[in-house]
Point group: C2
Chain length 404, copies 2
């Protein structure tokens, strides 16, 4: 983390402690020592996420909550009570989800810019998409250079259903995108702390404007109104893109010539060598790479009974879609083809897979690798980078279990 | 309701009041008068369903809770907090879901009958299916002869994901179904009240044995362990069949020569003319018929603003799969083709549909009708029958709204 990032982080934390959400969550008294006294090793669930199933989650911080590897289930869809949570700033006041249809968004960079309410959007079109939501730093906990940020293992990802209006329907109703625009830039509605340059902390992200073809402005998650914690009343959903691009409480969607100058875009979420600072010449965390991981067995060192076993997991990609998955029980020496289970919910959803194995007593290193339609294969090794982004190496994701 | 049925109902209610579940739910003090004092028109959520979203539900009784028509959303999957609930007997003690893998089921009518735990089943195979769960009496509230039972309108139905082991995998591991068996008979694990002939009240259902091809023994619902209210630790899931056949807390699955002699099979859930008693010669509530209904707009008498409107709903069938849906805003005089929205989750799931209409001020009667792959069409009228089963007539499901 750069010195600048650190300062912002300190400001942010102070702000959170003073904000309503922070106070409600008891964050003002939240320090490592008080936690240790309360419950060794476990942090309290923040108020904004009080509806989460605590037994299924790992709380890294008030803004970073991970799904336990043994809590993904086999249904293909991640229950919202078990979906990871990552916020770059504290959530706005909960009052904004009391009358969600009244939330306003500015649409700009189109022929006829407009201010629309969610109520207006609901009359303009409808689509539903099953999509993997994954934090850029998912897998950061496997890096060895202590990359700063939440030490996610596999659980900063989930597959969920979003409903809303296609961005292309809104754009069409407003006369189309203006000539020369190259980016779609979304601005979050978080309340910014006073006395800080907005560009340093505002959640504003730009993606190539063509992403609008599949993007939706969503007000619903898994069949229920989008909760505040996950960006309600309105969130921009960009299928195939890392979580940070799916801006919450979206208050402005603009087609722009340039990327936003906000730090979260300019220097944040950039892939660079270890020790380097972030800058706009480096790749931005946009499309997700090809990835899979085993969810059952679910823990290193697990002890299992000999015999038949259903090795399960999930596979997904933001680019060329997943065509197949292979499973290994010997640390990658040999592989067997896994079978997909359950409905295929579209190319942006993850596929649930299972491989039946028959294990005599012994020690096994169990892992999976995904194969994409274009023939590319999930790599063995992670790509080292400063912030521990985009980890899809199958070796670090392996589990070693004992069968007796 | 026959006199026999009524007696059983009285016994059942007394038993529920005395049982742990009943006491925990405060059912012993639950009478129309006390309810009226507490909250006019609203009944309390029973303890077993305390996790339900009260704002999304209509509580008919402690064993009958309906999803509000405006609470289905557009995501295709019904959130478990919004899924209807119907129990024929009170749920067993909640202790049975504390260690779900220990639950035992007897498998009989196979070459090698066996007693298996859920832990054993989890090692034997895996499948996930998206399936409409619908009460036989869904739509009963539209009948005019006051059919006995919960007065469901549209909300005793939901589309959810079930994970478990395919019954055919279990059967194959036990040497196959014995010669001459014609039914698959499932027995529920409810605790029966003392002093009553078990056959009168036990939840035991038989379906044609070929239904085993798609059936699963499920321990997971929408990505989380199956809750007690919905049949956890283990429920038999028979895709395409009405809810009652999907026996909860299943403790025995047997292939049998004859249908069970339990009342719930012999005389209950039989379609017969008004005034007739149930008997085994009448059709049993097995495969669901072709059905659709509008979910948005969502109320009779709703007032809407003139202009564009997205008419939404769901369509499903237990037989020939849904091929298309048509929407009418003039009470069936003219129809327009609706569009499917979101992922297609398989033939047993429902399809979310939407039709964009542009309505000038006036009064509209909005409804939908589904068309199946075999060319059959959802009928206009209900089929009158004593218990108000299987209502799929599109006229009763229509909503009259005012646009200004």
């Amino acid at each position: 983390m750069s010195t600048g990032d650190k300062q912002v982080d300190i400001v942010r934390r102070r702000w959170m402690a003073a904000s309503a959400a922070g106070a409600a969550a008891g964050l003002s008294g939240w320090s490592p020592s008080s936690l240790a006294q309360a419950q060794p090793g476990a942090k309290p669930m923040p108020a904004v996420a009080s509806f989460k199933d605590a037994d299924a989650m790992i709380v890294h911080s008030a803004n970073g909550i991970e799904t336990r590897r043994d809590a993904f289930g086999s249904s293909g869809i991640t229950d919202v009570e078990r979906l990871f949570l990552r916020n770059n700033l504290g959530a706005p006041n909960a009052a904004i989800v009391e009358n969600p249809d009244a939330w306003k968004i500015e649409i700009d960079g189109v022929t006829s810019p407009a201010s629309l309410t969610v109520g207006d959007l609901k009359r303009m079109g409808l689509d539903t998409v099953a999509m993997v939501l994954q934090c850029s730093g998912n897998g950061r906990g496997f890096f060895e250079h202590k990359a700063s940020g939440s030490q996610w293992k596999v659980g900063a990802a989930g597959n969920v259903l979003w409903s809303g209006v296609p961005v292309r329907d809104v754009v069409a109703a407003l006369g189309g995108v203006r000539q020369g625009m190259r980016y779609m830039t979304s601005t979050g509605g978080e309340t910014l702390p006073p006395g800080v340059d907005a560009a340093r902390i505002i959640v504003e992200r730009s993606v190539p404007w063509t992403a609008m073809e599949e993007a939706i402005l969503a007000w619903e998650l898994n069949g229920a109104p989008l909760p505040l914690a996950h960006g309600g009343p309105l969130r921009v959903i960009i299928p195939g893109y890392y979580g940070v691009n799916n801006v919450k409480y979206v208050k402005r969607l603009a087609f722009t010539v340039d990327e936003t100058q906000a730090n979260i875009q300019k220097s944040g979420y950039r892939v660079r060598d270890i020790g380097k600072k972030g800058d706009p010449t480096q790749p931005s965390m946009w499309e997700m790479n090809l990835k899979s991981f085993v969810t059952s067995p679910s823990a290193d060192g697990q002890k299992l009974r000999a015999g038949l076993l259903q090795v399960q997991g999930v596979a997904f990609s933001g680019g060329s879609p997943v065509r197949g998955v292979e499973v290994s029980v010997d640390g990658g020496k040999t592989w067997q083809t896994a079978r997909f289970v359950g409905p295929h919910m579209g190319r942006h959803a993850w596929r649930q897979f299972v491989a039946q194995v028959n294990l005599p007593p012994g020690k096994y290193m169990i892992t999976s690798r995904a194969i994409a339609a274009d023939g590319s294969t999930q790599p063995e090794q992670r790509v080292e980078n400063e912030r521990g982004y985009a980890h899809n190496g199958w070796r670090d994701h392996a589990l070693t279990v004992t069968v007796a």
